[in-house]
Amino acid sequence: MANALVFIDNPGAALKKSSLELLTIARSLGETAVAFTGELNDDVAATLGAYGATTVFQPSVDDLDNYLVGPKAAYLAAAVAASGATAVLVDNSPEGKEIAGRLGIKLNAGVITDVVGVEADGTAHKSVLAGSYNTTAKATTPVTVLSVKANNVEPAAAGAATAPATAIVEVPAEGLANSARIAARTEKPVSGRPDLSEARIVVAGGRGVDGDFGPVEELADALGAAVGASRAATDAGWIGHDAQVGQTGVTVSPQLYISAGISGAIQQKAGMQTSKVIVAINKDAESPVFEIADYGIIGDLFKVLPQATAEIQKRKG
């Protein structure tokens, strides 16, 4: 009987850092099983063992990725039953939260989203109203479903690696019925930069970049950072909507957020104010972003960013 079940959805060749974080949290709750989808290669299986997973479940069907949410939730419900887990951990992506939501209804289980920490008794810590409140929440049901935000624990392997057992879980047929099917899928161009929601460092540009994300992207690459943007910049079409940080975009909580040419209105603040360190560069000394910046530079981003990029490259040799 496992205590915690971690959902890992088609990771490809290697596990994402957020999955390693989930495994680390799960282990603090007790014996950990994994509900896996996609191809389980040897490296991934070894990593799961290194992080202490005792059982890895796989679905009886291999086309879960052709459907939205519903069938994955049905699979996960079956895996919860097979594992006996009382805590289910999923990532906090939009799809992760939806799977958590449907799973909760299937299992009559309380769902807590946007979790930043979990105590041994299942109490979850979260940050709400755009980071203006810290709350603790708990499910009152036998099973708790938690969607956990990235970058809140350091991934740590178990003291002793295990060789996890594998088991197939039957996906109920009704899981596939009544579901939206993905008719076509095109991969977006890969930037080679880290995923915005998981990145340790984010460099973001706003109205002040005036159509030219070059300096923002160059600094991001020097720092190994993801590129973000304000809604003004994405609405202007200067960069894809995927890059939008804020209330209607991605919420990020990196170690370092560098804001360039963004005034920092509430809609943007909502997406980034829980960042550990905030640096702001803006020409306008009255910009609200300076009220929350740990380090603010009143100046021209087209001068400051390239100078910083060159200095970082120089120091890195």
């Binding site: 579901s179 939206a180 977006k188 995927d242 400051v304």
Partner: protein, 271 residues
């Protein structure tokens, strides 16, 4: 002419995000005294109105019903929706609903939608915004779909309905996807799908003549124990205002701010 549609749009009154927001009371719930129609719901309403108008509007038998759940203030979200163009409104209100979490809220909304389906023809489409701007759990569309056993299509950035099927584009994550589902379905739309219209003077006047049906839990066959704090599967045990961030060092660029920035990052061990 396309087939006509009966569309329910979920609308929510939320604290205005332009101002400070607060959590109060024994259930640690959000203070909704100064509330407005959630900006993100306007995109769902616009999408519903466009689908109905393509099919000849109310005269042809299309319905666009704004549904809101919550205390008396929630009716304002319905009224605003009627001013923007919704054809009729439903306000689900009951003292026992206070403090409902997503699970209890989705239970009550599912019952309200079944009630609306039983009144005339069944609902074809339930439209929602991509998130509420307050609770931000984003669970309602998924949980509602699960309770109604409808397919869910979330984060639609385009939406078409034809031949009893919805087709939508999603740009979530690393892929751009075309998603199809049979009606009836729950669809949430993003803020990229359209440009919501504003209420005009004619719309504001017309809204006064539109019907708002008030429903209680008894009307929709839900027991008080199934909702509110009693029917919720999660409790918020504590809520603490986070100390506001304070401004740190602010410098004015004298030609070497880029280097000073790198010094700062090095000192913070962020390089």
């Amino acid at each position: 002419m396309e087939e006509t549609l009966k569309i329910v749009v979920l609308v929510k009154h939320v604290p205005d995000a332009q101002f400070d927001r607060h959590i109060t009371g024994p259930g640690n719930t959000t203070d909704r005294d100064e509330s407005i129609l959630s900006e993100l719901d306007e995109y769902a309403l616009e999408a519903a109105l466009q689908l109905a108008e393509e099919r000849g509007g109310p005269k042809a038998g299309n319905e666009v019903i704004a549904l809101s759940m919550g205390p008396s203030g929630a009716v304002n979200a319905v009224k605003k929706s009627l001013q923007i163009g919704a054809y009729s409104g439903v306000h689900l209100s009951d003292d026992a609903l206070a403090g409902s979490d997503a699970a209890a809220t989705s239970l009550a909304l599912a019952a309200a939608i079944r009630h609306i389906s039983a009144d005339g023809r069944p609902v074809d489409l339930v439209l929602t915004g991509m998130a509420s701007t307050d609770g931000e759990t984003s669970l309602i569309p998924a949980q509602l779909a699960e309770r109604l056993q409808f397919p869910q299509v979330t984060f639609a950035s385009t939406l078409e309905v034809s031949g009893g099927q919805v087709s939508a584009r999603r740009d979530a994550g690393a892929f751009s996807e075309t998603v199809e589902a049979q009606l009836p379905a729950v669809v949430s739309v993003t803020d990229q799908i359209n440009e919501p219209r504003y209420p005009n003077f004619k719309g504001i006047l017309a809204a006064k003549k539109k019907k708002i049906a008030s429903l209680s839990l008894a009307d929709i066959g839900v027991d008080a124990s199934q909702v509110g704090l009693a029917g919720s599967w999660t409790v918020v045990e504590s809520a603490e205002a986070r100390p506001p961030r304070t401004a740190g060092t602010i410098i004015t660029d004298d030609g070497d701010a880029g280097i000073k920035l790198v010094d700062f990052l090095a000192a913070q061990k962020l390089l």
